[in-house]
Subunit: 227 residues, 2 copies
Amino acid sequence: MNKVLRLNSRDKNILVKTPIMASLGQASLARMLDLAAAVSFEARDILFREGEHADVFYCVLSGYVRLYRLNKDGREADIRICGPGDSFAECLLYLGPNYRYNAQAAEGVTLARFDLAKVRAAAEQDVEISRAIMQALATHLLTTMDCVANDRLQTAPQRVAHFLLTSCPKEGTSASIRLPFQKSLLAGKLGLAPEALSRAFSTLRRAGVTVRGRLIQISDINALKQI
Amino acid sequence: MNKVLRLNSRDKNILVKTPIMASLGQASLARMLDLAAAVSFEARDILFREGEHADVFYCVLSGYVRLYRLNKDGREADIRICGPGDSFAECLLYLGPNYRYNAQAAEGVTLARFDLAKVRAAAEQDVEISRAIMQALATHLLTTMDCVANDRLQTAPQRVAHFLLTSCPKEGTSASIRLPFQKSLLAGKLGLAPEALSRAFSTLRRAGVTVRGRLIQISDINALKQI
DNA sequence: CGGGTGCTTGATACCGATCAACCCACGTGG
DNA sequence: CCACGTGGGTTGATCGGTATCAAGCACCCG
């Protein structure tokens, strides 16, 4: 747990470009910025646990946060990986009083923290804010439904190929990507064990994918699409 | 495709108890009811397909609807099964112009149909409506996140046990359930092949689960929780 | 009685988890 | 400068779970 501050101007600049904030007009934006506090966490810090009473939600300014669940014998499964601009736990604005999953800093992170009750009140008065929240919720919902469908339809190499294709520019026949986080985190995001991710990368070698550390070269984008 | 009618009073009674409508006051409720049209589909009818232009969303009055995706070689995976009271595709109120999955009637269904644009306009003026929609979106989001977590953490028998536990009364040591739909639909909902569901039921026999047709007897609820 | 349809059962194959060993890059301290 | 430890990643061997394919069964309805 950590420092709580008013946002500095760098943080504000990031926050303003965030999906939940980007669509807001002058007044609504000011209102939301006024409710935001900056907090930071070290790698592996737990932000909250499933079942705890929820009174704040977050928006990532830098770094990555894992949202995950545990089963009764302690195995964990990632539900979502949140990076810069992503907000999480906003779904609790209009729901039960407890967090429904665990959140952990995957590395050092800085976050904007919002008081659920205050934002709820602000949304009540300000249609722009409530519309922005709806949009965020709808987006998360579709993303999560995509996740279910992908888990159920795609094999490990296909998931990795799909991920690569969504994180490289559309045009051109080749591309190179730098992973924004550790491979083990990517594995979790794709619902794979780290070993399975590693093997998936090596089967993708024959489709023109070269991996060295976090650098990934894709020689033939169209070949990837055929996987 | 089928009859389009104003709602009859039976349908209205159902619709009014629905999550999206239940929280509405007199005026907002009237406004929404005024936008609703009743439609019905035969078993296996396609309501819409992924990629089609979306101009309406639905709320189930009776029967069940499958939401599913296809992969390129034609295999399908269910994303969600919607029963009476469930609404779907409302997430498109504030998002892209196209449906993001396929919807099919799993049996004969009656639905309330809402024009996206009109509801959007209504929500813009009426905070109650927009709050109700948010609540529905948030609920769906959490449900879908649960689904991801369950898919990634639980085996087939565990998923079935979990399903049984959520569809039987909390108190008591034994219970009996009548499945509201076909087993093959349940299989899809749980992300399983029908054969796998069948086998899961038979491994649950040793935990005191007896299946005959759609009737399921659970002799020891606590035993199920240990699976 | 014949023919659906939905479900179960069996045999097999595949995919990914798991466990263990190893590798490599890096940092630290003797 | 080197020995060592650590953390992230890869590789190999094995196991388990579920999909798939195929056949058989039960029930319903003509």
